[in-house]
């Protein structure tokens, strides 16, 4: 959404950023206040809502599908996750009709690339491969309800939140006639009086510590900064989308993908600085998320999110 | 193309007349226009005329793959075509917002009200089902377009018969109408749609408004009912504030209308069935306009005698025999031959000579040089060919019978009735191996 600010406002902002002070008082490496709520949508297998600084608002919903695939056709195991980012018209009237589709596809492609090695990165993701030719397909859908800059960051936080909220049912695989396989939900044997359907199905959860994250690092004047507000986005020289993943064994951060977003010239050194800044902030974010995910959701019955 | 706008004076007079209960075509406020329903000679076609609004609906069916979610249910597709013939503002092959609304309402009334049993359209669950396609063509537009389209579609669906089918382990046999009688669709009820115009905040009801009246009214409400006294669709289509009592009154009016029209539809279908069972070839849509209207004309079937190629008749320059290599001189420059064209002609003439020498034997006949002999030879060949035609006795076309020139009202060419050729290619006869 084009935010129009006058030239001297831009000048003021750029000179401020170069001295590591931003209009809203943050330093270059600070994020706006993040609100993260999980398990908000009862109709999904896993959901999470992230709000960045009272404006950017993203909602992630995950639905599981049992997918049969032809094992011969795929040489290496295809990663089970598929991403789809959709800009709701609520965010701004320019996203009405087909307005937001192009930007949405761009971000979905970026996530597809960032999560392309997910089978190796996430330890227990391989459990989704059930049997020859059957697996769980994880459809991660993101709906951007409010738009005020740094949407990829909010989306990646929402994805991590939703994946941590995801519950995948345990499944028994029994061979069937004609080479086909019958998939039955595994129910713990509780001899109690409950009829078979009402026994809660056993679920397992994904371990999301090393889930990759996409950060947008922008360059204004000579300074690199993270999480730009719309006003700052008007004076960006260029922007990089950097995928960062936590490397469990060496306790460092690997860069999974670097994509330039929009035009702009960059020297090699500034790319180097930007990736360092990205991995530094990613470290901070990972700790914050872990702390957040540990605190159980205590919510009054009937209380809902977005309130 | 632009349609002239509605003038304020027209609007005032029409509204004033409506408020005092008068209309420009002498109808009462709650009086319907006459409905004319004609069923075509082809199975599954019908034209419905309400006042000046004319709509033709044609139903066709083909075998298709069912959707994975509903493997044992047939599919009904409704397609509307607004052409400039109906209203000059329409364009060919472009479905404007008016067209989309019409399709959506027709789907609401015909498909969502489940008036056709889709389970009976299933041939082989999961693999083959009948896909019934209803094509609605709007031919003329003068208000209550949806009523006319819905009536035409319903009549066409009643009139339609799909080919009979038998299931065999590995393939499906589709019979033509000559081997096994085609099967009509299984229709539970007939939704009849009525557009009810509303005036000054919905207090006044105007039934079946014409196009000009609809432009002056506040809004309209669409009600579809069937003769089992069920409301199939209720749709408020313009910005209008009503009271629930008003809505109930409109529904009652629509209900009485539905009963009347269902009777009309079933009469037309029964009458057509009677005709077909008596093997009388229905005249369908051919024009049966009364001859007294000055703008209509008929000409009896007539004998065409082609004169043999008389030699004298063609003026010589007309029968100029074209040289096989056409010299593309520009017809406009017949008089003034410009300089560069002159060298062009020289160039072509020189090419002509090269072709003649290289081709050698083949006579690239130049009109003047080949002389009259060649032309006489051609004439004989044409004459023998033509003679062959006249003398042959058992020719298919019985020309003598129709020689009588007095204008017969309905002339049925004798050929069709006498014998049914086995290689008849009437509609969808192919014995198809699927």
């Amino acid at each position: 959404m084009e935010v129009h600010i006058s030239d001297d406002e831009k000048l003021f902002l750029i000179s401020g950023v170069e001295q590591d002070i931003r209009n809203d008082g943050r330093t270059c490496a600070d994020f706006r206040t993040i609100v993260l709520e999980r398990g908000v949508l009862s109709g999904t297998n896993g959901s999470c809502r992230v709000q960045l600084g009272q404006t950017t608002d993203v909602l992630a919903g995950i639905k599981l599908e049992l997918e049969s695939f032809d094992p011969a056709a795929e040489k290496e195991a295809k990663q089970p996750m598929s991403f789809h980012v959709d800009f709701s018209a609520n965010a701004s009237s320019q996203f009405a009709g087909k307005g937001g589709d192009q930007y949405g596809e761009e971000i979905s492609a970026a996530f597809q690339v960032a999560f392309s090695r997910s089978l190796d990165i996430l330890p227990n993701l391989s459990k989704t491969l059930l049997a020859e030719g059957y697996r769980w397909k994880i459809n991660v859908d993101l709906s951007v309800l409010q738009w005020a800059g740094s949407v990829p960051d909010a989306c990646s936080l929402a994805i991590i939140g939703a994946l941590s909220d995801l519950e995948v049912p345990e499944v028994e695989v029994a061979p069937d006639d004609g080479g086909k396989v019958s998939i039955v939900l595994k129910r713990p044997r509780t001899g109690g009086n409950m009829r078979d359907e009402e026994v809660p199905v056993a679920m397992w959860k994904l371990d999301v510590q090393s889930c990759p994250m996409l950060l947008t690092v922008s360059k204004i004047g000579s300074a690199n900064l993270v999480d730009c507000s719309p006003e700052e986005e008007c004076c960006i020289r260029s922007q990089l989308l950097i995928g960062v993943a936590k490397n469990l064994n060496v306790d460092d951060y690997d860069i999974t993908c670097i994509k330039q977003h929009g035009g702009g010239l960059l020297e090699m050194e500034s790319i180097q600085d930007m990736t360092e800044l990205a991995s530094k902030t990613a470290g901070g974010l990972y700790q914050a998320i872990e702390k957040r995910l540990k605190t159980e959701e205590k919510r009054k019955p009937g209380h809902s999110f977005l309130l | 193309m632009r349609v002239p706008p509605l003038t304020t004076c027209e609007k005032e007079v029409i509204l004033e007349a409506l408020k005092s209960g008068k209309r420009f075509d002498f109808r009462g406020l709650e009086e319907f226009r006459g409905v004319k329903l004609v069923v075509g000679s082809e199975i599954g076609t019908a034209i419905c005329t309400i006042g000046n609004t004319k709509v033709i609906a044609a139903v066709s069916a083909q075998i298709a793959e069912p959707s994975s979610m509903r493997p044992h249910k047939g599919v009904i597709i409704i397609d509307v075509d607004l052409s400039p013939m109906a209203n000059v503002s329409n364009e060919h092959d472009r479905l404007g917002s008016k067209g989309m609304e019409l399709i959506r309402l027709l789907e609401l009334i015909i498909r969502d009200s489940r008036c056709i049993d889709v389970e009976s359209l299933c041939i082989r669950a999961g693999k083959e089902i009948w896909k019934v396609r209803v094509d609605v063509r709007i031919l003329d537009e003068d208000g209550s377009l949806l009523d006319c389209a819905c009536l035409a579609a319903i009549t066409a669906l009643q009139h339609f018969k799909r080919p009979n089918v038998t299931l065999e382990p590995h393939h499906t046999l589709i019979y033509s109408e000559y081997e096994k009688a085609p099967v009509p669709l299984n229709i539970y009820h007939m939704p009849i749609c009525t557009t009810i115009g509303l005036l000054d905040k919905g207090q006044m009801v105007v039934i079946d408004p014409t196009e000009k009246e609809a432009a002056c009214l506040d809004g309209s409400i669409v009600v579809a009912c069937n003769k089992r006294r069920e409301v199939c669709a209720l749709h408020q289509s313009t910005n209008l504030v009503l009271s629930t009592k008003q809505i109930e009154r409109c529904v009652k009016l629509a209900m009485s209308r539905a009963e009347a029209l269902t009777a009309v539809v079933s009469d037309v279908i029964k009458q057509d069935q009677r005709e077909r069972s008596a093997f009388k070839r229905p005249d369908g849509f051919s024009i049966t306009t009364p001859s007294l209207i000055l703008t209509s004309g008929t000409a009896a079937a007539r004998q065409i005698n082609a004169p043999r190629i008389q030699h004298g008749r063609e003026p010589e320059e007309k029968m100029l025999y074209q040289p096989s290599v056409i010299v593309n001189e520009n017809p406009l420059s017949v008089g003034s031959v410009k300089q560069e064209e002159v060298d062009e002609d020289a160039l072509i003439a020189e090419q002509l000579s090269i072709i003649q020498n290289s081709v050698g034997g083949v006579a690239v006949s130049d009109p003047q040089s080949s002389g009259v002999s060649k032309r006489k030879k051609e004439k004989e060949m044409v004459d023998d060919l033509l003679d062959g035609i006249c003398d042959s006795e058992e020719e298919e076309v019985k020309t003598e019978i129709l020689g009588s020139s007095e204008p017969m009202e309905v002339v049925l060419p004798v050929v069709e009735q006498q014998k049914d050729e086995e290689d008849v290619t009437s509609w969808r006869k192919k014995k198809k191996k699927v």
Partner: protein, 214 residues
């Protein structure tokens, strides 16, 4: 050499919204034609020097992709109307095939001409369509659906009245292999039927204009 033209019926200006409309039937093949214009045309399709023709034949069912028939009618109309007379305008001709019992191409051409006559706009020459088929090398004019299906070759003549009043071919569509002689025979059959159709035009217009007697 003889053939027969099926019975022709016609009704003019029976549509409310079209400038010129005709419902024409030959035998039991029946079409409705409408011709509206010269009217305004969308800027994208407007042509500065000449009138743009927008012609479409539409059948009862299925999507309406009849490029061959549209092309013949388009070329005939382009020849019959002096397009430069009305620059920057549009003429819309729609032909609905209501009932098809053979030689639909010829019937649509005749219907288009009737609609143009009913519209009353200035144009150069009247035109009509004659379909001639060859069944077991015997020529039949204006065939029914059965004869057309059983034919081994078809030729559709779009005939217009030449400057000297005699019928003249202005476009032609030939299907199947014809040698020149058979084509000439077919043309010799088409001429009298074209004159017969032109007479029918005049008789209908005479009836229509009989109102102006007084």
């Amino acid at each position: 050499m003889a053939g027969r033209l099926r019975e022709m019926r016609c009704e003019l200006s029976f549509l409310k919204n079209a400038d010129g409309s005709a419902c024409f039937s030959q035998g039991s093949t029946c079409i409705w034609a409408s011709c509206s214009g010269p009217g305004d045309v969308h800027a994208s399709k407007a042509n500065e020097e000449a009138m743009t023709l927008d012609i479409s034949y539409r059948a009862n069912c299925g999507d309406n992709k009849f490029s061959v028939l549209n092309n013949i009618i388009q070329s005939t109309l382009a020849k019959a109307i002096n397009l430069e007379l009305f620059p920057h305008t549009g003429l819309v001709v729609t032909i609905h095939g209501i009932q098809d019992d053979g030689s639909m191409g010829a019937v649509s051409l005749n219907g288009a001409c009737f609609a143009l006559l009913d519209n009353g706009m200035p144009f150069e020459t009247v035109f009509c369509g004659v379909l001639i088929v060859r069944v077991k090398d015997e020529l039949i004019i204006d065939p029914t659906a059965k004869q057309e299906a059983a034919s081994t070759g078809k030729v559709l003549f779009a005939v217009c009245k030449g400057t000297d009043g005699f019928p003249e071919v202005c476009s032609m569509d030939v299907i199947g292999n014809w040698d020149y002689l058979q084509l000439e025979a077919a043309w010799s059959l088409a001429q009298p039927s074209a004159s017969a159709i032109f007479e029918f035009y005049t008789s209908v217009m005479k009836r229509k204009h009989s109102v102006d007697e007084h």
